[in-house]
Symmetry: C2
Subunit: 215 residues, 2 copies
């Protein structure tokens, strides 16, 4: 017995029933992401107010306390859905370097990522979150993130006017027109639609870059 116990202990040095902390952190992140993705789908299908933490737990075959292990409350989940979608757009601002391409090229890359994000599972949360009677604190956090994207688009338009790749225009109103057209995708796009996110992006880019008047 002592030997077996010792044997077990000896093995445990190499094979602990606890995974290394790096692996535990990774597992925790995977589970947290599953909570957020499942919630994003549920919010879109049933609406935010009609989805409870219990519903999200049931969809993942766990109990409510398990969900609270990963997120503080439902509003926090909505915020994370919002942020996950927005992070995809933010990444596009850093993908192409100003030194290597015109501002117009970088702007079209942002439009493409924007279309992908809005047609993703997180699109509904990104566009509809603000209509959900959120707490003032949460509204402010969401508006701060939104403002970063808005400012990023305005900056690209300004740079494009400077480098000659974008026609002289009102950067603020033009950025609103772009973001509005993109955000509105969440109102009409349905999963399994005839056009892929990339095809939608192609048509949007064509309209915004070349305009409706024949060239």
């Amino acid at each position: 017995m002592a030997n077996r116990a010792f044997g077990v202990k000896s093995e445990a040095v190499n094979e602990s029933p606890w995974k290394p902390s790096s692996e535990r952190a990774r597992q925790r992140e995977i589970k947290r992401e599953a909570v957020i993705l499942t919630a994003a789908r549920a919010f879109r299908q049933r609406g935010y107010h009609n989805t409870s933490i219990d519903d999200i737990a049931a969809l993942l075959n766990v109990t409510k306390p398990t969900i609270y292990h990963y997120v503080d409350n439902k509003e926090e989940i909505l915020f994370e859905c919002f942020r996950t979608g927005l992070d995809q757009i933010k990444a596009a601002f850093e993908e192409t370097l100003p030194s290597k391409s015109t501002a117009m090229t970088r702007l079209t890359a942002v439009i493409r990522r924007y279309a992908q994000a809005i047609t993703s599972e997180f699109g509904w949360c990104m566009v509809r979150a603000e209509d959900q009677d959120l707490s003032p604190v949460m509204s402010k956090r969401i508006n701060t993130l939104k403002s970063e994207i808005d400012q990023g688009i305005r900056k690209l338009i300004n740079q494009g006017i400077a480098d000659g790749s974008i026609r002289l225009c009102d950067p603020k109103i033009t950025a609103f027109a772009l973001a509005g057209a993109m955000n509105w995708i969440a109102h009409w796009h349905r999963e399994g639609a005839e056009l892929s996110p990339d095809e939608i992006a192609d048509r949007f880019i064509e309209t915004f870059v070349n305009g409706l008047k024949p060239r």
Copy 2:
């Protein structure tokens, strides 16, 4: 006494205390419009769910039963706000005749009216109504009206491709981009903003007609 009473009766033939029915219908319409306009302002300021029929009555210095004399329920008021805004856009489709101008000219007239409608008192209701957990019947009625506008824009784009005033494009997705940019105005426009509705329309038309690429 009899004489006085007779005298009153005699006068009443010419000056009835009741107004002619045409005038009564006009007064009723004016009052009904006041109910809808007051409700539109209240919905935008406080939100639809936070505004009661009592609130609307109080704003008009009348009682709740008076309001019910003009509308059946709160959802009906929201629908009327929505329809009033949309009617302004619909009118633009009929203002200029196909025989007298190109489809592009007619489309820009629609964009101008659209911007005016969305920045009006009714803009919030037009764009946010569908997020308010309306009854299935009401959602369907609103979607039918929206679809008319959408189809009208697609038709103009198709006519523009045919008459050569609009570049070859995907009419459906282009109509969505236009409507999305316009509808989104309700999310960022504030009363007393630095640009007038017409100035916003000018910039939108410039972006959509000429595109961002220098010509």
